[in-house]
């Protein structure tokens, strides 16, 4: 058998190569998609970790825990890059000349803390021998110029004099970005930010020396300051170790990173059992990244799977060109006494050999393609386990293709020769799919899937706060079924028309040579039909990828623009914050944005207060209203309020209702109840980051505080990046953020996916597949119509006349592939966008047709097809009639 196989390979190496290429196609497509997905998913971990300010917090279970040995042990744990001591306690402050006392939060850290954690910004002075007042405390009457502060610990045991500590005020500290300090450290509410209006920071050594002993005294409630993990609020006092974990240590896959992080948390906790509870602050980000990774895989597979399918189709079609040669070879072996079992084994051995070569070839092409598109070295950068998994899946697809090809061949080996010949003849006239009405089945399946989802609300966009979603995989089958079904249906309709028009019911003289070629094509449309199906599927696939990628980009830009709100964000870094000065002609408009803490009933519900006139001038993304009016309502009635659809649902409010809201609930001096009338419900109101549920006017809240930040619109035609640079040069005390910077810092993993790489990769592959589809048709024309060409030659037809039919069929294949494929691809894209639009905050556009990219894709497909057709025509033109006619 091996000798026979080797002999067969030596005798017909091109046949083996063609069979191998048939396998390599789907392996390459699937392999490239999987490698691309893997790379994209792996970038999500680092993306998710980037905004995490503090990875782990070891929180003492009691203030009596001696943290020094705990710290030493934690610092020794592998992957821990840095540890910092941290303590916090509720205190009551007073200052000379300030009437009454002010509740505040005391924080204690070492001076080196700010070097590791830049989100704590010392505005003036330094952490050391005194107190640094937080910016909110600085704006409290009397504390702005205070030279000393006295802090008293509340809740000490009855009969004990509350310990107090007076410290000189040494400067100001900006804690607006220090979210971990205000976040509930552990428990169900872990990560929830508590509103702390006033804060001050002292040196940890001072805290340890002067405050901690008092905290360790028996408490009023005899609780001994034990950590309450069930509490949803900040502990009254806490001793912590803030642990910085080396980001490079996290596995690149988000799911693995999440598991790893949880493991590290347990390892850290085990260092001092019972003494500390370790909270994993990275877990939420990694969980989101894990979900995003799953959705990204689904997204990529949705985009890539049709490519693998059509590649397999082309591979099978290419391999079926070998059927006739294979049949002849088997007939010869049968004549020499081979049994049907031996023939079947020989066929299987040939298939396995072609499968192995094809799979290896496909994987090489996949890796090279992804290398070229992403610029990273796949073999080197992809972990071995992922590489092996990818290879196994891709090779599995290759062997499935081989099996699909081999089954009929092995069966044929067991059939009489005459039956096989008959089947070969029949194949020219009909194909399997036409008999079972496959296209109608597929369209019905797609319709049912989409219908059920539409009916159950599965395709409806959720509110901003409910962005975590899971896509049912079967929903993604709908576009694929539609893609196949619509293409088959259109080809069937065209084929039906052609067959009817060319039916030989009565003798009709031939018209022109080209007309004759078309008439004859109508009498045996199967081969060209198959080529058109493959071409149209490939073109539809390519069009879908290109169109989807373009729409995805636009939706992504639209989302980020809505999230950011305008061209620039200006935040005062001065303490207290100051108003934005005049910014010159480069900035066309600015508008203040105030975030007002408020409560609706017992629920915290921050309000965004805007100045309607300037907001309208500045904003880059208009509000998306669900019901009621938008900015006009706010302009007409300053006490009107717009609520998000999420708030409308959660609080069962609608247009016309009145909301009784408490603003500044934690600031006794500014606390106020206001009544606001709901004038509209919005889906998105820029800026959507941070997300707010209620928007009203500055007039309604009458806040004297300066704006939290300003939005700015640059003058038409100017680059916001350049204007930002100019404004930075011209002003002081302003932090200027551009859209690009914001995207880099805040965007979710999934919407940061760059589909352009995949789009390029798969559109090129689609064009090649379409071209190969034409080449396969050409191969059939050469192989199956060799005798016809020879007969025409013997009749006296010129080369041009002989070439007319194959050229016409090739041209028809290309034209129909484009005519069917492009609209089907755009339609497929619309369905895909509808399904995957759930990922976006704003409803994405119906579809964005990238004309230039599509023209480029079409031109490339035509070029590849013309090349393939040229090879075919050259082969036909050079064919020697005599040997063919003599058989």
């Amino acid at each position: 058998m091996l000798w026979l196989l080797a002999h067969s390979v030596r005798r017909a190496p091109r046949r083996l190569l063609l069979a191998a290429v048939g396998v390599a196609f789907p392996v390459a497509m699937l392999g490239a998609t999987l490698l691309f997905v893997d790379g994209a998913v792996r970038s999500m971990t680092s993306h998710a970790l980037a905004p995490v300010q503090l990875e782990m917090r070891a929180v003492a279970t009691s203030v009596n825990v001696d943290m020094a040995p705990v710290d030493r042990r934690l610092a020794a744990v592998r992957h821990v890059r840095q540890i910092d001591r941290f303590a916090a306690a509720d205190v009551v402050l007073s200052a000379p000349g300030v009437p009454g006392q002010v509740p505040a939060r005391l924080f204690a850290v070492d001076a080196s803390y700010t070097a590791h954690h830049p989100w704590v910004r010392v505005v003036s002075g330094r952490i050391g021998d005194g107190a640094l007042l937080g910016e909110s405390l600085r704006t409290t009457a009397g504390f702005g110029a205070a030279s000393t502060v006295t802090m008293t610990l509340p809740d000490v045991a009855e009969g004990t004099k509350p310990p107090s500590l007076s410290l000189p005020v040494r400067g100001t500290i900006d804690l607006r970005q220090a979210n971990p300090w205000f976040a509930v450290p552990v428990g169900d509410a872990q990560g929830d930010i508590d509103e702390v209006p006033k804060a001050l920071v002292i040196d940890y050594a001072t805290f340890e020396r002067s405050v901690l002993p008092a905290l360790r005294q028996p408490q009023v409630d005899h609780s001994d300051q034990v950590l309450d993990q069930g509490s949803g609020e900040l502990p009254a006092a806490t001793l912590e170790t803030h642990i910085t974990v080396d980001h490079a240590s996290y596995p690149t896959d988000p799911a693995q990173a999440l598991r790893w992080s949880n493991g590290l948390r347990r390892v850290l906790e085990r260092q001092s059992p019972g003494a500390v509870v370790v909270a994993d602050n990275a877990a939420d980000a990694l969980t989101s990244a894990k979900e995003d990774a799953t959705n990204a895989k689904i997204l990529f597979l949705l985009l890539g799977l049709p490519g693998a399918l059509v590649a397999a189709g082309v591979g099978l079609a290419a391999a079926s060109a070998l059927v006739e040669a294979h049949r002849r070879e088997e007939a010869l072996l049968q004549l020499r006494g081979a049994t049907s079992g031996q023939l079947a084994r020989f066929t299987a051995a040939q298939g396995v050999l072609a499968g192995v070569i094809g799979a290896a070839l496909g994987l090489l092409v996949a890796a090279a393609s992804v290398d070229a598109v992403t610029g990273r070295q796949v073999w080197r950068d992809t972990p071995l386990d992922s590489l092996v998994t990818t290879a196994l899946i891709a090779v599995g697809a290759g062997f499935l293709t081989t099996a699909v090809r081999l089954v009929p061949l092995v069966r044929a080996a067991r059939r009489p020769e005459i039956t096989n010949q008959r089947r070969l003849l029949d194949r020219g006239r009909s194909t399997v799919w036409t008999g079972v009405r496959l296209e109608l089945v597929l369209i019905a399946v797609a319709g049912a899937i989409l219908g059920v989802n539409a009916w159950t609300g599965g395709l409806r966009q959720t509110g901003l706060e409910a962005q975590d979603l899971a896509l049912a995989f079967y929903v993604l089958l709908a576009p694929i079924a539609l893609w196949l079904g619509l293409t088959l249906l259109l080809v069937r309709l065209l084929r039906g028309l052609l067959v009817r028009a060319t039916s030989p019911t009565r003798p009709r003289p031939l018209a022109t040579w080209l007309g004759t070629a078309l008439r004859w094509l109508g009498r045996r449309p199967a081969r060209t039909g198959t080529a058109v199906i493959l071409g149209a599927l490939a073109v539809a696939f390519g069009t879908n990828v290109v169109t989807f990628a373009a729409t995805y980009q636009v939706a992504r830009q639209s989302d980020t623009l809505a999230a950011f709100g305008a061209d620039l964000r200006l935040t005062s870094t001065a303490v207290p914050a100051t108003a934005v000065p005049a910014l010159g002609p480069e900035v066309a408009a600015t508008t203040p944005i105030r975030m007002v803490p408020s409560r609706l009933g017992s629920d915290s519900l921050p309000i965004m207060a805007i100045d309607v006139a300037s907001y309208r001038e500045t904003i880059a993304s208009a509000p998306r209203m669900v019901t009621g009016e938008g900015l006009d309502a706010l302009a007409a009635n300053p006490t009107a309020v717009l609520v998000s659809s999420q708030v409308a649902d959660d609080f069962s409010v609608s247009v016309g209702d009145t909301l009784n809201i408490t603003i500044f609930p934690d600031d006794q001096k500014r606390l106020r109840n206001i009544n606001l009338t709901v004038a509209g419900v919005y889906r998105a109101f820029a800026p959507t980051d941070p997300a707010v549920g209620v928007v009203t006017t500055s007039t309604a809240v009458q806040s004297p505080a300066p704006a939290d930040y300003y939005l700015a619109r640059v003058a038409p035609g100017l680059s916001s990046v350049r204007v930002a640079e100019d404004v930075r040069r011209q002003t002081r005390g302003l932090m200027i953020t551009t859209l690009a910077q914001h995207v880099q810092q805040e965007e979710r993993g999934l919407t940061t996916l760059d589909l352009r790489g995949l789009g390029s990769l798969e559109s090129v592959a689609a064009a090649v597949i379409a071209g190969v589809g034409v080449a396969v048709l050409g191969a059939f024309l050469v192989l199956e119509r060799r005798r016809e060409s020879a007969i025409l030659r013997a009749i006296g037809a010129t080369t041009r006349q002989v070439l007319t039919a194959p050229a016409a069929e090739g041209a028809i294949t290309v034209v129909l592939s484009l005519l069917i494929g492009v609209p089907v691809g755009i339609g497929l894209s619309i369905v895909s966008i509808k399904v995957l639009g759930l990922f976006f905050v704003l409803p994405p556009p119906l579809v964005v047709v990238p004309t230039t990219a599509l023209l480029g894709f079409g031109a490339f497909m035509i070029a590849v097809s013309v090349l393939a057709l040229g090879v075919t025509l050259r082969s036909v033109a050079r064919q020697d009639a005599a040997p063919t006619l003599r058989g």
């Binding site: 030989p504 003289p509 009498r523 010129t798 080369t799 005599a882 003599r886």
Partner: protein
Amino acid sequence: MATEQPAVEAIALTRRYRAGGQRVSGLDHVSLTAARGEVVAVMGPSGSGKSTLLYLLAGLDDPDDGCALITGVDWRSVRGRARDRLRLHACGFIPQGMSLLPQATAAENVEVPLLVGGVGRTERRDRTAEILDRVGLSDSAAKLPDQLSGGQQQRIAIARALVSRPAVVLADEPTGSLDSATAEVVTRLLVGAATEQHAAVVLVTHDPSVAQLADRVVNLHSGHLDPAALEDDRSGGTN
């Protein structure tokens, strides 16, 4: 029989092939003529060079030595389009086995040479109908080849070879796949129609009964013409 320039003429035709790495002779200095209206049967065992001779005469193959002339034109002097045109107008060729275009109806198969030759639509229709009538297949004009019997298919092939009124009809085993009775009918049709059109016929056959219908029979053995058979012999059949 021939009184004018031969319709087809082979002069010392030699054709060699490569087989198993060696040059073997397919035809060796074979000379033959056929005049208009003359029917020549070429007989010989398999591999004797009969078909090789026919393809050289049809200009579908080139000799290594010698020359083949059709209506006085040496095939070597015409190339490309001119060669195609010469074959179209001067030569009707009937290949061995299934020689019809499977996707074309009987009428279309017959009409193809006229379309190739640029004959007008009306004339094509008339001539096609006329020749189909002559071969007795007017009723089968709209049928596809696989709807016709073997004999009918060969009659269509003959009609196609004759429709452009060539000077020579070259037929390679035109009755090879037919039973003897049908074979005789088909051959008589070919000979009769060609004679009526004053065309020379060179037909290759294994069948002595077919050869009997020829004006002259020549025998080929291992690429050489058998000298004993070069006489004008209506009885043919000498093998």
